[in-house]
Symmetry: D3
Subunit: 287 residues, 6 copies
């Protein structure tokens, strides 16, 4: 497994347990009433549409928390492309836990596969340019690590994970600095761990020039049209990382990439990706 | 406040605390470095587009957890329509906590307003029919109560909250019953609290007939075209609640409603609603 | 295992962990001081009196949390009758964890067996009537699911698990309705998930008539003497479920059942059942 | 407030929050549907029977967690005697939280008052003797501190709170000692903090003699008839604390006390006290 | 394993999980980026200096939480002496979890070994006297049980674990007693479980005399010079346990021990012990 | 307050609650028995020795958690120098909570002031050089944020907070790279968020040269003597941040600073700082 697809299973266990508690509560009354405890089943998780797999280990953990004795075989790895109808996961064992876990397992894998699939479309749109697609902090509360994992599964790269592992000086921060951008950068240099780069959000070329001269490590070029982005890249001239952000769509991402920026951050990857349609085909065996 | 918009603030506090822990971690290094502790601000949460407000109390709780001294005024109540540019919330007080909380407050209110806005479009599409728009269990893991609240803010009604407060007998459950639908309904009647209705998922009219005759309280009509729905409604003849489900879109929901069903459940309300574009206008005051 | 005796082991693990933390705290100083770490034992959980077994898997979990290597054999299943002296559970392995867990294991199994035993007496008292014995929400805070499980082990059925999975409109709720019972029922119909039945508490026959006519799904007949119950059952005439509640004792439950009610709810099952006397016979083996 | 009735409110807050989560879950659907948010009420907690008050601050905390704006007046303090019909607590404010919290508030105060009331009967039965009534570890899992508080409210005293704050060497512990009681006491002396007394459980007078001579600080006289207890007290002769335990009932406790023992421990105080019948009289005011 | 070295692994698991969450957070970015998932390693935990081992099972738990498949061999048991360079633990398996866990595993084992090592020096300094070295409550918040375990590993004994398992009446407590030391002791006798001894802190011989006569079980002789300690021991004459405390150093502990006190409590054991220098020698194997 | 001394109070509340739970458990039996509930007091937290204050808000939070009604006045701010005998905090109000919280409040403030005091000595030793003193990850498990705060209070700066907010490539990481340092740096560049700098640990000048040429942002110069450090600084020539680490003591830190390094990291600041001697002077007032 590459670094990109490492998943912290302790965190996954917690998130899955919370989701199961929310859905199952005091009990899946339907399944308990209608399915005998001894009944066994065979079930297949399949995708109904093409896309990129993400979240299969989370689905597996969901089933496993309800019954560690379930036997599961993974037919796709996260990050792999899927065609409509592809088999992703086979599950065999007691029927009750499979039916009880089904919805939570799907909720996770559909959302994460949806993010990975949308990410892949952006990544493919910028192929053969040097631009890298990155995510933002516009993620679902309490699921950020999973959603950023799905971005990696789609071939994207992660921006900072929170307010703690990266400095991003925005207009509002600069407004408190008596010495403008330069003062804000200097203040950050002095206060933050030296392990962090300092990025500055710029709205126009003057700000870009000022930030680069003040020693910014990266420049977030906010909502600039392609022409302006191109001039910004020339102005930066490799002295800082150039990140395009704001208003990026599948329709314009290629044009943005061709301006020569290093990174393109896309909030929609996580805040507006539709779920991917996966389904569980279930067949009862012994009763 | 109507029943529809009651929000369990103890639950909100927990969810907000988890989201802040995830985003802020050991500290918002940028804000701490660039904004003096004594700086104060005025900020306005506005919507960039038209829609239905939802999640403002969650945004307020987010700011308040970072600093209980912030003064906030709500200009819209959840459930109210908003025009592009409308002011939703005014915040005044220390600048640091406002900047640190901004993203989390937006992540909550954008997602919830997105759900409420989409729900309202479905609700309006079925006006003057008797059909009620309801949600599903296809929600974000661990945020279900918030998302179901947003559905209510949009004018929809809630289906069951989990596997514990409603019986929904599906194909897979019936497959374990030696006596088919009737046996499954009987088994459920005997085992579940009498406070719960028993709903049965049916794919065709024969199943509908069988379920109604076996005494089902509600019938989920799964993926049926309008003609078939109409015949199912006639067949049920008021003896059970008729719920249409599966494949519902804004394009076809009116036609479905006109078949005479009581409820229309729409998974997309929660699993695929895009975020609504809200933003925070911030201005530094005293420093 | 039937639906009745399904037990959510994730919940059990949490409850047991809390109980052990409370009792053992920083350490069982007596056992650590007097029993060598290498000592092994054989222990037998037996009942001192006749009754119905409940909570044996909870006792097993208690021992297992202190030492997963303990070997345990269950000689009775929950729900089975026991005679005085019967062997319920054999435990073999390290001596320290057995002695440290003993009290917590007994506290759980004695309480739950007490509830099951009392429930069984009520259930037997109404045999050959159609009445079903159900529990109430008068349970021990934070142990409700376990206590409702014990009621099932005793042969009873569960009423709703909380305020979320059933509607029970009482006097106090009706008092807020300008249109009386009918208005309250209508308000509930509109607001609650359609998966829930609507039950109304009635003190006299006029209220029963009003509630049935307003379409209540179930009627709780509160503190009515047998004659009145009988008339209420006639009046309801199968249009709603009839539940007798209030003032039920072992002395009068048969008479109540013979009035033709569907359900009899008994708070004493959980709020006042005495513990059943179980004991652990311990013998040290290797030291 | 005397030491006896100190109550750790941080602990109470946690226990109450857990109980409310269990009962209210995603929402009190009945109250939300039938009671307007603006409705206010006046409610009175009264006892239906005579007894000793315990748990009123826990009931108050329960109401307060649902709505901190409720105004409450305490008319009885825990530990005070109550006559049938006495007013214990007045509550005024929003109606919804009062109805939603009612059952949990009653579950706590009924159970704790039941324990206090039973304890008081034992305490009164031994008046004018030097015997002190104490509790045991036979308490409800996770509610031990509350139940031991109720014992104090009833006038009893607490035995150790767990396995960590007292040494009690039983048969099973002695069986591992090559040097019998003496060896076990010596082992404990060496290993446990010197802040703890060492008590030894004895079944007959020979064991009592051996334990006293080996320097036990206290002797638990297990299941001894009064005559034997009297001889044991003579034999101990003030060199250790004498505790009678096992088979104590209201019928025989006076006779036991008159043997001259220092302490009488009674498991039934907590494991089998019936709930005391308290009730909430509610009247809706403004709507 | 003797009582002294029992370690509550459920507690250890919690503490280790918290420490890993703090250090690893959303991910060990360096290791994920540079070490292939398939890489394996061999690592050896060694001590760089002589001392007493403590915390090896905590280090093992740390590695195991990151990867249960790691194979580990313990070459020293806690409590054993180590020479500089000694091998303590061998670890083999996947390379990533070893590198990610390294710092946390060292932080625990270095701190605990530091405490054990310092304790052993005190214990050796008082050899052949009857004095026992005990710890205090001056421990690291939330790590007390681990640190008291390390004291036992060093050959010391534990004083009370908290305010709940021992009575220690200090000046401030006595100041509230109208009847001085005697009144305070009597009040404690009446209120606390009889399982607890009563210790009184005394600053001079008059207080010692008063406390002994009032029946104190133990006397804490606070900050007394050796001569005064000796007179106090004579005065106590075996009627109570004599504990010296305050101002104890390695330089004077022998002299204090020779005064005949039973216990010497040393806060520095836990509040000021320097970490012991341990290190992990790592070699990558397959990649 | 400067950025340096910002303290996340939500985190402090959690840590304090855990510490109080550990120390107080089911109750401070001594204080409850000997101090009347109505007694009030006046208490003064003072330092017995000179040093730098740190952790006073943590001490305040400790007292406040036990009784929010306590009135407290802070006479020193964290980061300020203190002379022996200086008054730090005045507390007035109920006596019981003050005595119960005393030890925990002292444990926090003594440890944190100890760290701040030691840090200040290092900071003063390097005055007039450009070297900045920074901490390491050698902190107390679960208290890292507090200890890093204390380093800032002492005038030091923080290194990364964990494995997530900085890249530090060590020997062990390089050993997995087929292309040595350069390959490892390139792998990190590709995988980690661009918000993070990349630092490389080097043992000799060849490695330094290689790392700088491969584009490292910072170089950790491990255990180098001053001469070698000086040559490394020349070699780096401002192209990367130069950090000296390993074997730093108060005796040699000035010499190290004069080599021209940018940062000097000192593990001893947190892993071996002795507690600072603070004490609480308590006087009972009304009883």
């Amino acid at each position: 497994m590459s670094a990109a697809l490492e998943l912290d299973m302790a965190y996954v266990r917690q998130v899955v347990a919370a989701a199961l508690a929310e859905d199952v509560g005091p009990g899946d009354v339907t399944t308990l009433a209608t399915i005998p405890a001894a009944a066994t089943c065979r079930a297949q998780l399949r995708t109904r549409v093409a896309g990129i797999a993400a979240g299969l280990p989370v689905a597996i953990e969901t089933f496993r928390q309800l019954d560690p004795s379930l036997e599961m075989t993974e037919h796709r790895r996260d990050g792999e492309p899927m065609d409509a109808g592809d088999l992703l996961l086979t599950i065999a064992g007691p029927a009750r836990p499979v039916l009880t876990a089904e919805r939570v397992a799907l909720n996770f894998s559909q959302r994460l596969s949806g993010i990975a699939t949308l990410t892949r479309r952006y990544v493919e749109a910028v192929q053969q340019t040097k631009a890298v697609i990155v995510d933002t902090r516009k993620t679902t509360p309490a699921l950020r690590r999973l959603e950023k994992y799905a971005v990696r599964a789609g071939g994207g790269r992660n921006h900072r994970f929170g307010l703690f592992d990266g400095v991003l000086i925005k207009d509002n921060h600069i407004s408190a600095s008596p010495d403008g951008v330069g003062g804000a950068i200097l203040a950050a240099r002095r206060a933050v761990p030296h392990s962090l780069r300092i990025e500055v959000e710029c709205d126009d070329l003057d700000q870009v020039r000022e930030a680069v001269e003040a020693g910014a490590d990266a420049i977030l070029l906010d909502n600039m049209p392609p022409d302006q982005l191109r001039r910004a890249v020339e102005l930066i001239a490799g002295r800082a990382i150039a990140e395009a952000s704001g208003g990026i769509t599948l329709a314009n991402v290629r044009e943005v990439a061709e301006t020569g920026v290093d990174l393109i951050s896309v909030g929609a990857l996580t805040h507006s990706a539709p779920s991917l349609d996966l389904g569980l085909d279930f067949s009862l065996e012994g009763v």
